[in-house]
């Protein structure tokens, strides 16, 4: 799998390269600023890009802008955005075109290597990887609403993991239950929220995020 990395701190950039290479990714280019990132994304058209939000030359949201611009030129280009802080605002902007292949995680999550690599693969496959912090805020915001109140605590937990973009199998292993039990929960959730049932993981995640007003 071909990856482009954008990170301005050499230490982190080298760490990411080493980590992804160790898991069989091919790092086609690692850049350290916004304009190079846009060029690398549009010329290499990688299977997935791992992008830091804040990059030179402005040290603002250069990376995010470059990623959004690249996805405008190459629709559906999978991008996993990393940041020291997560904002619902940015998550919305990333998810706004509803084409999938989007990840948005705190940099801290890299420390859980297997989960992180899983997220990169998921995004490369056109899936979603949303940071638990963003999801938690999202659920708090909608907690008072009537349909969500009808969910059991267990179902709400499943909903959160689903919103993060995880498959039934991943949810099952995270909750130490069988996949069957998870799919029972998801069916309940979908019927309680009045969403059309779907077997496709990605479409299911987007449905949940749309319901929560995110995508």
């Amino acid at each position: 799998m071909r990856v482009v990395i954008a990170e301005d701190l050499a230490l982190l950039r080298d760490g990411l390269i080493r980590l992804l290479q160790a898991f069989g990714f091919e790092v086609v280019e690692a850049v350290d600023n916004g304009p190079s990132l846009l060029r690398a994304l549009t010329t290499h058209r990688p299977d997935v890009a791992v992008v830091d939000v804040r990059l030179p030359p402005t040290f603002t949201d250069e990376g995010l802008r470059a990623a959004l611009e690249a996805r405008k030129q190459v629709p559906g280009l999978p991008v996993l955005v990393l940041s020291q802080h997560v904002e619902q605002l940015y998550a919305r902007e990333l998810l706004s075109d509803s084409t999938g292949g989007i990840g948005y995680l705190l940099k801290d999550r890299v420390s859980d290597v297997s989960q992180f690599v899983d997220a990169v693969r998921r995004v490369a496959d056109g899936g979603t990887a949303l940071d638990p912090d963003v999801v938690a805020q999202l659920l708090t915001r909608h907690a008072r609403e009537e349909p969500l109140q009808r969910l059991t605590p267990r179902e709400r937990e499943v909903l959160g993991l689903m919103a993060e973009g995880r498959s039934n199998a991943a949810i099952a292993s995270a909750m130490f239950v069988t996949e069957k039990a998870v799919s029972k929960h998801t069916n309940n959730i979908f019927s309680k929220l009045g969403l059309p049932p779907s077997e496709d993981d990605n479409r299911r995640v987007l449905a949940v995020l749309t319901y929560l007003g995110m995508a």
Partner: protein, 430 residues
Amino acid sequence: MDGDRRAEIARVGLVTCLRGLVQAVLALAVGIPLFVMTVLSIAFIPLGVGVFLAPASLSALRSFANIQRMWAAEWSGVPVPLPYRPEPANAHNPFRRLWWMLSDPATWRDLLWLVVNMPVGLALGLLPACLLVYGVEGMFVAPWLGQITAYGWGPFWPLEAWGIVGVVAPVALGALLTAVSLPVGPWILKGHALVAQALLSPARTALAERVRELTETRTETVDASAAELRRIERDLHDGAQARLVALSMNIGLAEQLMKQDPEAAQELLAEARSASGQALTELRDLVRGIHPPVLAERGLDGAVRALALSLPLPVEVGVDVPGRAEAPVESAAYFAVAEMLANVVKHSGAGRAWVRIEHTGDRLRMIVGDDGAGGADPASGSGMRGIERRLAAFDGTMAVTSPSGGPTVVTMELPCALSSPKTSPSSGTG
């Protein structure tokens, strides 16, 4: 020595009399024509010719006032600082020059002084000389001249009807008056200088008020930022720093155990990873409190929208600010809005809130409203007091209307200029 002093007093007294006479003469001889000229030239501005005449006569008025300022300082030791606004770069343009002079309150205070100085300058200017002349007259002229001719002027002497007393008394009283008038003269002149100082100095009250206000807000700001630094230091010391120490200890221990007890080593490493996660979370919260990253990245608009999205109630955000304010002002504005919204969440019981931020003239206005219970009192909450202080450091203001039963509307204003507009990606967020 004593004689020297007396001679000096006499010399100063005489000089003072002359100076007073000069001032008295100028008060009318220059004052009246100057006043008429100034008023007429200003009145002629609508006719066009005044545009050129008024700056000329106002310049003359300033020169005359400047002479008075110089004399007040040199003769009486009463400093009268120049109150005029600095001349603008484009003052060769007659209209700009006219506007510069007419819009300066000092111009009108000059004119007021000119009028007041006519009677006051005349009276106080003549007084020292009159006292001296009258005393001298009592000593040398009145007792003798009265004998020779019908001598009509003066209320005190001659005292013809009193015989010898009528001769002695004017001499004694005249000597006394002369002796007193010489040292008193400078005080009278100083009185005149003080009148000039009152009108010709920069408007003192507003200035003093401003200094007091600045001193106060500066002290509060310095105190607040010292307390803030102290808090950050404590948070770092007890939080992230302590966790990093534990982290490096765990890693060191894991390194030791790697060979003998790989399982224990793995456990320690897992612990270390979770400790690093907590340290990062704490650092992130700390950074948010100092300067939210999204504010640096997206400015006030994006930061307030991001904040609104993270709150557990719907917040409608409208921002109309074409450009970015200076970073410190932007930060103060952001924290003011953030604190207000935190209050809404904590205290108001509101179902929804709204924020409007706009820039009009040279002021940034932030309005935060909610449909909650109202009854918010800026005097009682330390949060609101903190915002007021934060805003005051930038000459900002805050007004709260919060009737019992709601709604609450808080209007905050900060004077600020904007830098050139910065493009931001269009986003479907609201």
